[in-house]
C-alpha cells in the first residue's frame, strides 16, 4: 500500500510537470502542440541512453545509441535539454501560418511518425521492445530500497517546486501578456512588434524542457521505456487535464492534472475486476477521458478554474 502511495506521488509529480509545460504552450501561448508527448519521450530516452552502459561493453541484449553511464543529475539535465531541443524541432514544423486545426493535425502526424520511426529502427532506441534495466540512481544506491524510493519522491517534489517557480515567470508579467496576445491574434501581435517566431520557439523550448524533465524522472523511477508508453493518446490525456482544469491557469491545470491523471486514470484500477476481459479497466479510463473532454469543450471550455483576470496597481 505504501508503495502504491509512492507510485501515485511520482506519477502526480511527473504529470504536473508535463501538464504545466503543455499549458504554457497551449493554454497561454496558443500553440496547438499535439506532439507534446514526444518531448516527454525525448527526455526519457535521453536519460536512458545517458545512464545505460555502452551496448557493446555490457554484453547487452539491447541495441541503442549512446550508452554513456553518466550519473543521475547529469542524465536528468540531459533529459531536460533533449526535451527542449525536440520541442524546438517540433516548433519548427509548426511555424507556417496554418489554421490551428491544420496545425493540430500536423502535430498529431509528427507524434505518430516519431513513434513509427523509433519502433521501426530497432538499433536506434530499442525499437518496439524499448529499453530496460537502468542502474539505480547512484547517490542513494547504498540506502535501504524503501528510503531510496522516498528520497526519489523528494527529488520529484523539489523538481516540481522549482519547476513551478520557473513556470510562473513565463506565464505572468510582460512575457505572459505578450504570449496571450499572440494566442488571441497572431497577426495583431506581430503588428505591435512582437516577434512571433521567436516567442513560439521559446515556449516550445521551455515547454519541451518541462516535458523532458517529466519523462526523465518517470523513466528513472520505472526503470524502462518503450513506444507503448508514449502513444499519441497520452498527449490527449494531458490536454484533457489542461482543458478540464482551466486553460492558461496554472492552479487550474494542477487541479485538472490531479483529477484526470490520478483520480480518473489511476482510479479505474480500483474498479472490480471485470470478468470477461483483463485490461478493460484501462479502456474504460480512456473512454471516460474522451467523453469528459468532449463534455468540457461542449459545456465549459474555459475549464473549472478559468484564467484569472490580472490585477494591476496604480489606478486613480
Amino acid at each position: 500500500m505504501e508503495y502504491y502511495a509512492i507510485v501515485l506521488l511520482v506519477y502526480l509529480g511527473t504529470d504536473l510537470l508535463a501538464a504545466w509545460g503543455l499549458n504554457l504552450e497551449f493554454g497561454v501561448a496558443g500553440v496547438a502542440n499535439l506532439a507534446f508527448i514526444v518531448t516527454i519521450a525525448a527526455g526519457a530516452y535521453a536519460y536512458v541512453v545517458f545512464t545505460l552502459p555502452s551496448p557493446a561493453a555490457g554484453g547487452s541484449f539491447q541495441q541503442y545509441v549512446g550508452g554513456l553511464s553518466l550519473p543521475f543529475p547529469v542524465a536528468l539535465a540531459g533529459g531536460v535539454l533533449a526535451g527542449a531541443v525536440v520541442g524546438v524541432l517540433i516548433g519548427i514544423t509548426g511555424l507556417k501560418r496554418l489554421r490551428q486545426d491544420y496545425q493540430a493535425v500536423a502535430m498529431l502526424v509528427v507524434s505518430l511518425m516519431a513513434a513509427t520511426i523509433v519502433t521501426a529502427d530497432t538499433g536506434f532506441l530499442g525499437g518496439n521492445a524499448g529499453l530496460v534495466l537502468l542502474p539505480n540512481f547512484a547517490p542513494f544506491s547504498d540506502q535501504d530500497p524503501e528510503i531510496q524510493r522516498w528520497l526519489f519522491v523528494a527529488i520529484v517534489a523539489v523538481c516540481c517546486v522549482g519547476g513551478y517557480l520557473v513556470l510562473r515567470r513565463f506565464t505572468n508579467g510582460p512575457i505572459g501578456r505578450a504570449l496571450r496576445a499572440m494566442r488571441d491574434d497572431e497577426n495583431a501581435a506581430a503588428a505591435i512588434g512582437k516577434d512571433i517566431v521567436a516567442m513560439r520557439l521559446m515556449v516550445q523550448a521551455v515547454g519541451g524542457g518541462f516535458g523532458g524533465l517529466s519523462g526523465a524522472l518517470l523513466v528513472a523511477f520505472i526503470g524502462g521505456w518503450s513506444p507503448g508508453a508514449w502513444a499519441y493518446v497520452e498527449t490527449l490525456a494531458l490536454l484533457t487535464a489542461v482543458i478540464v482544469g482551466g486553460m492558461g491557469n496554472n492552479r487550474g491545470v494542477t487541479l485538472g492534472t490531479f483529477l484526470i491523471a490520478i483520480v480518473l486514470l489511476q482510479g479505474v484500477q480500483f474498479l472490480p475486476q471485470m470478468a470477461f476481459r483483463i485490461g478493460l479497466r484501462e479502456d474504460l479510463g480512456w473512454i471516460v477521458l474522451g467523453v469528459v473532454t468532449i463534455a468540457f469543450i461542449w459545456l465549459r471550455p474555459q475549464g473549472m478554474l478559468p484564467e484569472r483576470r490580472p490585477k494591476y496597481g496604480g489606478s486613480s
Partner: protein, 255 residues
C-alpha cells in the same frame, strides 16, 4: 512647409491580389509631421496599398522607403519596431486580455519580454513596467475609458474596440501611423475628438497616413491627399486643388 525629407516614399508599388493587379504601380510620398490622406473610389487599391506598406502583405514589385530606409518586404513586427505602425480595418483587440493589458502589451522594448528578462524576474523589469503602466492609464483617461480598464477586451462595444486599437497603436510611439478608416462606425462627436487628437499628435512630430472615405475628415485634417483609382495614383496635392481636377471627379463617378 517643412523641407525635411518625407517620412514615407512609395515607388511603383505592385501587388497582385486574388488574380487582379490591386495595386498597379503606385507612387506617392507622405510628408513628415503631417497627416496624409489616401482616398479614392472602392476597389482603388487603397487598403491593399496600406496593407503592403504595413507589412501585412508582401509586395510583388516596387519599393517602400521609410524614414530614409528601404523597408520593402519587411515583416510586420520589424516595421513596428522601426516605428511604422498600422491599425486594422476591422478593430482587432486581444479579446482574452483586459483593456489595460491591451495597451500594456503594445509598449515597445519591454525588458520583461526577453528571455533574460524573464529569468531575471521582476527586479529587472519592474520599474519599466511601472512607467508603462502610468503611460497606459494616462491614455485611458485621455480617451475616457478608465472605467473599462479591467474589462476583458472581447466584451467591449465596436466603437470602444476601435478606440482601444488606436490607443494601442499610440502606445507604440510610432513615427508613422497607418490607419485604415479610423472613423468608421464612430459617432460624429467621437470622430471630432479623434481628429483633434490626430492634429495634436502631428503637432508633436508624429506622421499619419490614413485611408478614409469621409471627405469631411479628409478636408479638416489632411494637409496632403493622394488619390488612387484602379491601383494607380491619379493625383497628389491639397484637397482644395484636387476637388476641381477633372480626373479626380471622374474617378469618383466612374471608378
Amino acid at each position: 512647409m517643412s523641407q525635411a525629407s518625407p517620412i514615407l516614399e512609395v515607388r511603383e508599388l505592385v501587388k497582385h491580389y486574388g488574380g487582379v493587379r490591386a495595386v498597379d504601380g503606385a507612387t506617392f510620398t507622405a510628408a513628415r509631421g503631417a497627416i496624409t490622406g489616401l482616398i479614392g473610389p472602392n476597389g482603388a487599391g487603397k487598403s491593399t496599398a496600406l496593407n503592403v506598406i504595413g507589412g501585412f502583405l508582401s509586395p510583388d514589385g516596387g519599393r517602400v522607403i521609410f524614414d530614409g530606409e528601404d523597408v520593402t518586404g519587411w515583416p510586420m513586427h520589424r516595421l513596428a519596431r522601426r516605428g511604422l505602425v498600422r491599425t486594422f480595418q476591422l478593430a482587432r483587440v486581444f479579446g482574452g486580455l483586459t483593456t489595460l493589458e491591451n495597451l500594456l502589451v503594445a509598449a515597445p522594448g519591454q525588458r520583461g519580454e526577453t528571455l533574460w528578462g524573464v529569468l531575471a524576474g521582476k527586479r529587472y523589469w519592474g520599474r519599466q513596467e511601472g512607467q508603462v503602466l502610468l503611460q497606459a492609464r494616462e491614455m485611458l483617461r485621455a480617451f475616457g475609458m478608465e472605467a473599462k480598464a479591467d474589462e476583458y477586451a472581447r466584451n467591449l462595444s465596436g466603437g470602444q474596440k476601435r478606440a482601444v486599437e488606436t490607443m494601442r497603436a499610440l502606445m507604440m510611439r510610432p513615427k508613422l501611423l497607418l490607419l485604415d478608416e479610423p472613423m468608421a462606425g464612430l459617432s460624429p462627436s467621437l470622430s471630432r475628438q479623434l481628429e483633434d487628437l490626430f492634429l495634436k499628435l502631428t503637432g508633436e512630430g508624429m506622421s499619419l497616413l490614413l485611408v478614409e472615405h469621409g471627405l469631411d475628415t479628409v478636408d479638416r485634417i489632411c494637409s496632403n491627399v493622394v488619390v488612387m483609382a484602379q491601383g494607380k495614383v491619379l493625383s497628389e496635392g491639397r484637397m482644395t486643388e484636387l476637388r476641381s481636377r477633372k480626373e479626380v471627379q471622374d474617378a469618383y463617378v466612374i471608378g
